[in-house]
Amino acid sequence: MGRKTLVVTLALAAGVLALAFGLVRGSGPQSASAASHREAPLISMSPAEDLTDFFMFRSYEPGNTDKVDLIMNVNPLSEPGAGPNYYNFDPNATYAFNIDNNQDGITDVRFEVNFRTEIRGVTRDLGLPLSYAALPPITKLDGAGSEGLGLRQRYTVRMFTRPDQPIGKPGLLANDLIAVPSNVGPLTMPDYPSLAAQGIYGSSNSAEPSLPAGVRVFAGARQDPFYIDLGGAFDTLNFARTPPLLTAPEDANDNANAFGVDTLSGFNVSTIALEVPASYLTPDSSKAIGAYANVSKFTASSDGAGNGRGSGGFAQTNRLANPLVNELVIGTVDKDRWNALTPAQDGQFAQYVLSPRFATALQLRFGGPPGCVPLFLAPDQVAGCNANNRTDLVNAFAKYSPTGPLTGDWLRLNLATPGTPPVVASQKRLGGLAGDAFGYPNGRRPRDDVTDIATRVVGGPFYITNRAGDGINVDDAALPNTFPFLATPSDGRNRVHFNRTATPAAPGS
């Protein structure tokens, strides 16, 4: 199925997902008679395995900057009011962060997260598998005050390393942690931030199941940190200004939207955030690491001889490293296949990168010629790079350095970047393009405006010089400086989605 594509950006249509579930997947007539053909559903939809974003950055939480944070989001465009089921993780899936610490393009360290679903409390007593009820209000994830959490998910976190890795403590990092539920509304969950804080596990939360020192974990609902004029993008790049170029002052102002509307305002996602000491990821933090997130689903065979996890195995259905690669670069016919492979197999897609269709589309719409970005090229590569041979993009997406070997699509992070990672208010949304050495493409933070960055990088110098962008410079919710670094999700009763006619006030960050 094609649902495997990642990004939030293009996920607007995902709003129909919940509907499609009920409408399509379910109803297969099933017959009581042995002689009748049993029609099982043919369509599956799995927003819970659809990765929207992957972040990796050195922590900018004051006093904590020796840690690295890995965050993946799933459940694109979670409408906060979409009860009664809201949003959950997939108990048949393994969610994983994969780290390459020796630049060979092969996973060296891997963290796996698995969920299980419990039906409990009031709803179980009533025999009703309904999700949440304010009977009494939900103030705790467990024990008294948690009775209304009729559907609750617990999860485990495991660490794996290659045998030659002299790092970390592989094995079970945590067991039976509780995922933070969707933010239903103020009557059901009168103090959601406090409820969600109970789902931050780690050294600062000593009452909770113990994790190794320096490790923190969170799983649950968060506000979607991605911001984009998605409606404009879909309408043939019909942004609120034509051509969509920012003035220098607009471009420099990260706290106001130049034009357009954040189509993702008021939507949530489901987040898995893991914070570990850098030493868990690499024995040599002078060397940049690479990472990607992936989701694998349980598979099994018809013979039924075995059972359970052991006999079945898992098949990867989704992966995400650099933002927008699958969306803007990989050709339509190959998106599913791309999602099923590992970065080491990315070489076969080189043609898509060398001659990106998105650059062609930009030119069609705005007339600016696509070109190479010298920043990503070694001096002797400049001459050979042109609009139909974008070796600069290959370097940016698929190499640790312009002269290094091809390693496929990894999000790369230099742990030895000098200085202290800036807090959100001091971060530049354009990251490396604006001189912020701790921003994308040196890892990726929630604040980074990858829409504008990708547009300019894929477009090339014309788009960089002229400050191309969607006009949206800031998310509708302020990002916190503390783990898990994403904002409290909108609640189902009071959520607001900005309309193009309205003039949204951009909150400062």
Binding site: S27, Q30, H37, E39
Partner: protein, 439 residues
């Protein structure tokens, strides 16, 4: 978010996406329509729209409207075909089948080789029990989109009903590899059930339930399937819990009502069972519901009312046939179970066997032969019906009665006991017979 207004082609795109795999519909499955804008070039597989309504009727209305504006919109035609098929399932109204066929064939005429239309026609053939056609169409659409779980599903389902089990199971194994999820898990579960592994079948169906994420119909459908697996091994309470859960999430779900009626009957609560089955029949008069209601009335001693239900079968069968559905196998079983036109039932069973040489086809033919006195030939087909090792109490019962007819008293008792041991409540009318002769 869910009510952004739709434009024609966009509505169709959204609906295609909606019906065929969601926001990120498999790009290679949709033959790209001539791009109407650069957005189509950029994002051909993703429509930035939601749907005007939240149910199939509003979807159908939106698509019909889109087609009034542009009658040659292939995507809208494809989507409308799938929407009709969906509606037919929801309300068990076969009159949607010819409508689906019409729009899907129009799509194929406008866009020869259109993969979605081919898949839609494959699905339609399955619904109509035309499994050879379904296999041809499924293979055709699979060739164009080998990473589509749906296409593997069409092929596997068809092979299964044609009795080509090893191939069918290989198709399901491929399906779960390319697209692990509810549809594939449900089929793997069914394969294991057929192979006589109810425990691992239950495990897979539990995973399918988890996949439904408590969405109404998927949850109800998978829960009822899970309940039936428990039922098949005689775990009535576990089955009832699943049925009640399905009905809690989806009140009035007919398959849940029907299943729960059988539980109530097994517990001897016949008035309750009749009330439940009557509700199912009132909502959707499916042949199997009508049969069960008739049987419930009959075993409750309400013979005249039972006969009225049985008499409905002809009407329903005519309606199904008029809409292209093959019902020979079901009718043969109904007739032979109720002692109606036995020689004609045998003819029907032989005809249907040619279309559907599955283990169910074997079993119905065996039983029909036996009831017509051809017990030697019946035994041949009964052996075939049990060749996969399926633990099916009804098939065991048929075999027991055939052995009895052949004078193999001890073998007969052994099969009948096995039948009752598997599920003491396997049939309203035959379980008591099994008990009588098992002694």
């Amino acid at each position: 978010m869910r009510r952004i207004a739709l434009g024609g082609t966009v509505a169709a795109m959204a609906a295609t996406v909606f019906l065929l795999g969601g926001a990120f519909a498999p790009p290679h499955e949709a033959k790209p329509a001539p791009p109407s804008s650069q957005a189509d070039v950029l994002f051909p597989e993703r429509a930035p729209v939601s749907l005007a309504g939240k149910d199939t009727p509003s979807l159908i209305a939106a698509l019909q409207q889109a087609l009034r504006r542009n009658g040659e919109d292939v995507r809208a035609l494809d989507s409308l075909g799938f929407a009709y098929l969906q509606r037919a399932r929801e309300i068990a109204d076969p009159s949607y089948y010819p409508k689906a066929q019409g729009v899907l064939q129009r799509a194929l005429a406008l866009s020869p080789g259109d993969n979605l239309a081919t898949a839609g026609l494959g699905s339609l053939s399955l619904s109509r029990h035309r499994f050879r056609d379904a296999l041809i169409l499924g293979r055709r659409t699979l060739a164009g989109a080998p990473r589509s779980g749906r296409n593997w599903g069409i092929v596997g389902d068809a092979l299964l009903e044609l009795g080509r089990y090893p191939e069918a199971f290989r198709a399901f194994d491929a399906m779960v590899r390319v697209e692990p999820g509810l549809p594939a898990y449900a089929r793997i579960s069914y394969a294991r059930e057929l192979l006589g592994h109810p425990r691992t079948a239950i495990e897979m169906m539990q995973r399918a339930v988890a996949e439904s994420n408590f969405e109404r119909e998927p949850y109800a459908w998978t829960s009822v399937q899970l309940g039936k697996l428990y039922w098949s091994i005689g775990r009535i309470d576990a089955a009832a819990l699943q049925y009640r859960r399905a009905l809690a999430i989806f009140p009035g779900y007919v398959y849940g009502l029907d299943a729960l009626a059988q539980v109530e009957a097994a517990r001897g609560h016949f008035p309750r069972a009749i009330a439940l089955e009557q509700r199912a029949v009132n909502r959707t008069p499916l042949p199997q519901f009508v049969t069960t209601l008739g049987d419930l009335l009959r075993v409750s001693g309400r013979r005249a009312q039972a006969e009225r239900q049985y008499a409905l079968m002809d009407v329903i069968a005519r309606l199904l046939r008029a809409n292209g559905v093959k019902t020979d196998l079901e009718l043969a079983l109904f007739d032979v179970d109720h002692g109606i036109r036995l020689p004609a039932a045998l003819e029907l069973a032989r005809v249907s066997y040619r279309d559907r040489p599955s283990i169910d086809g074997d079993d119905v033919l065996a039983w029909t032969l036996a009831r017509n006195g051809h017990c030697g030939e019946a035994r041949h087909y009964s052996v075939r019906a049990l060749r996969l090792g399926t633990r099916d109490a009804l098939k065991y019962f048929h075999r027991g009665m055939i052995e009895r007819c052949l004078g193999n008293r001890s073998a007969a008792r052994s099969w009948l006991r096995r039948s009752l041991h598997q599920n003491a409540h396997f049939s309203l009318i035959w379980a008591p017979v099994a008990r009588r002769y098992a002694r």
